[in-house]
C-alpha cells in the first residue's frame, strides 16, 4: 500500500479527540485547537489508495490515531468474516494505530451486512461466543482491543446477565480493554429503565481505555415512553456531560472522543465540544 512504519504514537493521550471527517482535513492541519487525537472508522480506509489513505498518512504523522471498527459483527452468531479481519490487519499493520476498538453488537448475518450495530442477548452462550471472537481478533491483529458498550432500544427476554457483568466477563476471559460510551449508557438507561449511575458504579472502570461522547435524538415508543436514538447527529446534551463528569470523578482522566457522524458541523463547532471535554478532564487531572 503506502510506506510502512507510521509508529509515531504508541498510546492515546488522556485528552480529547474527535471522530475524523474528511471535510475537516484542512482545518485540523491548520489549527486542531483542543483536539489532540483522531479516531477513524476502519471500513472507510479499506481502499487501495487515493485521497483517504493519503490524508490518513498525513494525520498519523501529527496525531495519535484510534482505529474504530464498525463492521466485524463480534456479537454475531456466525463465525467472524476472515476476509474482513484480514483487511483490518492490513490497515493496522500499516498504520500501527495507538488504539483499536470494536463494538459489542452484531451487524452481519448469513453474508448480509446491515450497517447498524444490533444488540444481542446476554447469556452464558453469547458471552462464550463474544469472548471467542474477541480473542480471535486480538490474535489476528496481534494487539489488545477495546470493546464498546452498545446503545439498546429493546430488551431480550432470554438475557440472564447484565450488560456490565457480560462485559466484565469478556475482559476476564480475553484480557481485552473496554471503550465506555457515556452517551450509550445514557440512551440504554433511559430506554431499558435502568439507572445510569448504577451502571457506571458497577462498571469495571479500571479496564476503560477510552470514553465516547456523542449526541442522540428523541422519539417515543408505542406506550408513549421516551425512546432515545443513537444518532451522532448533534451536540452532546448536558445530562450526558454530567454523567461523563461523574464517571471521570471515579475513573480519572482517559482518552475522550467526541463523535459527530451525521449532520457534521463546521470544524469550530466540533472543536468547541472538545474544549468542553478538556474542561472536565482538567478538573480530574490536576
Amino acid at each position: 500500500m503506502l510506506d510502512t512504519n507510521l509508529a509515531k504514537f504508541e498510546t492515546l493521550p488522556n485528552r480529547p479527540g474527535v471522530g475524523y471527517k474528511p471535510q475537516h482535513f484542512a482545518d485540523i492541519m491548520e489549527d486542531a485547537g483542543a483536539v489532540e487525537w483522531l479516531e477513524v472508522h476502519a471500513e472507510n480506509y479499506m481502499g487501495d489508495g487515493g485521497r483517504p489513505l493519503a490524508q490518513l498518512r498525513h494525520l498519523a504523522e501529527q496525531f495519535p490515531i484510534s482505529v474504530h471498527g464498525v463492521g466485524l459483527s463480534i456479537g454475531g452468531n456466525d463465525p467472524l468474516d476472515v476476509d474482513h479481519l484480514k483487511r483490518l490487519k492490513h490497515l493496522c499493520d500499516w498504520l500501527n494505530p495507538a488504539s483499536f476498538s470494536e463494538h459489542l453488537a452484531w451487524s452481519t448475518h448469513d453474508g448480509a451486512y446491515l450497517n447498524d450495530l444490533i444488540a444481542l442477548p446476554y447469556t452464558e452462550a453469547t458471552v462464550s461466543s463474544v469472548a471467542d471472537h474477541v480473542a480471535q481478533v486480538q490474535d489476528v491483529l496481534g494487539r489488545k482491543m477495546l470493546l464498546e458498550n452498545p446503545s439498546s432500544y429493546l430488551a431480550f427476554a432470554e438475557s440472564t446477565l447484565s450488560e456490565v457483568d457480560f462485559l466484565a466477563e469478556v475482559v476476564k476471559r480475553t484480557g481485552c480493554g473496554l471503550l465506555l460510551d457515556i452517551n450509550n449508557v445514557f440512551i440504554s438507561a433511559n430506554n431499558l429503565k435502568i439507572g445510569a449511575i448504577d451502571y457506571i458504579d458497577a462498571f469495571p472502570l479500571e479496564h476503560v481505555g477510552e470514553f465516547h461522547l456523542g449526541g442522540h435524538d428523541e422519539d417515543v415508543d408505542d406506550a408513549g415512553e421516551v425512546l432515545l436514538i443513537d444518532s451522532h447527529g448533534r451536540e452532546v446534551v448536558d445530562p450526558v456531560w454530567a454523567l461523563f463528569d461523574y464517571t471521570l470523578g471515579k475513573s480519572g482522566p482517559r482518552p475522550t472522543l467526541i463523535e459527530w457522524d451525521a449532520n457534521v458541523p463546521p470544524w469550530p463547532e466540533l472543536a468547541a465540544e472538545a474544549t468542553r471535554a478538556t474542561q472536565i478532564l482538567d478538573k480530574v487531572t490536576s
Binding site: F156, D221, D222
Partner: protein, 253 residues
C-alpha cells in the same frame, strides 16, 4: 425463547414479518416500535450509502423516487461486506430490469460511470510515466510494446451520451447532451477522478490497451473502429489523466 439472528435480519428487511418473539419493551410487553428503530436505521443508512455512490442517478430520477428505488434495491442486494465503498455493484443490472425506469435507457450507464468513479477514487496510487519515455523508444519497438494503464482507469462504452449526461447533471453550465453513443474514460490525475468522452476510435483503443494488446495492434483496432481515430489526441488525454504507468517493451527472442 431464544431470538435467532436470521429471524431478526429477515424482520428488519421485511416490515410485513412479525417482530421476533422474545424482544421486549422494558415493561416486558413485546417490542413493536422499538424494533422499527432497527428497520429504519438499516434502510436509511444503506439508502444513504447508495446516495453517496450514485448522486447523478439520484438527480436524474429525483430524490423521492431514488429513496423508494434504493429501498427495493437494498432488499434485493444487501451489502456482502462492511466495506460500503464497494456497495452497489449490482446497481446497473438492477436498473436494466427495474420496470419503473425502463424509459430511462441511459440510467444503467450513468450508474456504471458512478461506480467506476468510486472505484477509481479508492484505487491504488501509481506513478505516471514521463512522456519522454515514449520518445526514447524506437518507433518499431514502441509498436510492439504494451502500455500499462493505472488501476484508477476505467472505460464505459455506452450507446448513450452517458458522459455528457453525467456532466449535464453534475456540473453547472455543462454542454447539453446530444443523442449519440459515447465511450467514457475515467482517469484519476492525483486524487480526483475525471470523466471524459473519448473521441472517435478512442474507446476501441483504450479497450485494447486495457486487455494488454501491444500498441501497434491497438492502433489498428482503433483505426478499424473509426476512420477519424486520432492517436495524438487520445494519447494526450491519457497522459493528462496520469493514466499511463508503464511501457513494457517486447522481449526479443
Amino acid at each position: 425463547m431464544s431470538v435467532k439472528q436470521s429471524d431478526f435480519k429477515n424482520a428488519i428487511f421485511d416490515a410485513g414479518l412479525p417482530v421476533p418473539n422474545g424482544l421486549c419493551n422494558p415493561d416486558g410487553a413485546p417490542a413493536q416500535k422499538r424494533f422499527s428503530v432497527y428497520r429504519n436505521n438499516v434502510a436509511v443508512s444503506l439508502s444513504e450509502a447508495l446516495e453517496v455512490t450514485f448522486p447523478v442517478v439520484r438527480t436524474l430520477v429525483g430524490d423521492e423516487f431514488f429513496k423508494a428505488m434504493a429501498g427495493v434495491f437494498l432488499r434485493q442486494h444487501a451489502p456482502s461486506s462492511p466495506v460500503l465503498m464497494r456497495y452497489g455493484a449490482q446497481m446497473p443490472a438492477f436498473l436494466d430490469s427495474f420496470e419503473p425506469v425502463a424509459h430511462l435507457g441511459y440510467l444503467p450507464d450513468v450508474a456504471r460511470i458512478e461506480l467506476a468513479l468510486t472505484r477509481s477514487y479508492h484505487a491504488a496510487d501509481t506513478m505516471p510515466i514521463d512522456p519522454q519515455v515514449l520518445q526514447s523508444i524506437a518507433p518499431d519497438d514502441l509498436l510492439l510494446a504494451r502500455l500499462h494503464l493505472a488501476p484508477s482507469v476505467h472505460l464505459i462504452r455506452s450507446n448513450w451520451p452517458a458522459a455528457s449526461l453525467y456532466h449535464a447533471n453534475s456540473t453547472p453550465n455543462a454542454t447539453p447532451p446530444v443523442m449519440q453513443a459515447e465511450d467514457v474514460l475515467i482517469t484519476r490525475p492525483e486524487y480526483d477522478p475525471a470523466v471524459t468522452a473519448l473521441p472517435a476510435g478512442g474507446g476501441a483503443f483504450v479497450a485494447a490497451l486495457l486487455i494488454g494488446t501491444p500498441l501497434g495492434e491497438a492502433l489498428k483496432t482503433a483505426s478499424a473502429a473509426s476512420d477519424d481515430f486520432d492517436f495524438t489526441t487520445v494519447l494526450g488525454l491519457l497522459l493528462a489523466g496520469g493514466a499511463l504507468i508503464k511501457v513494457e517493451e517486447h522481449q526479443k527472442g
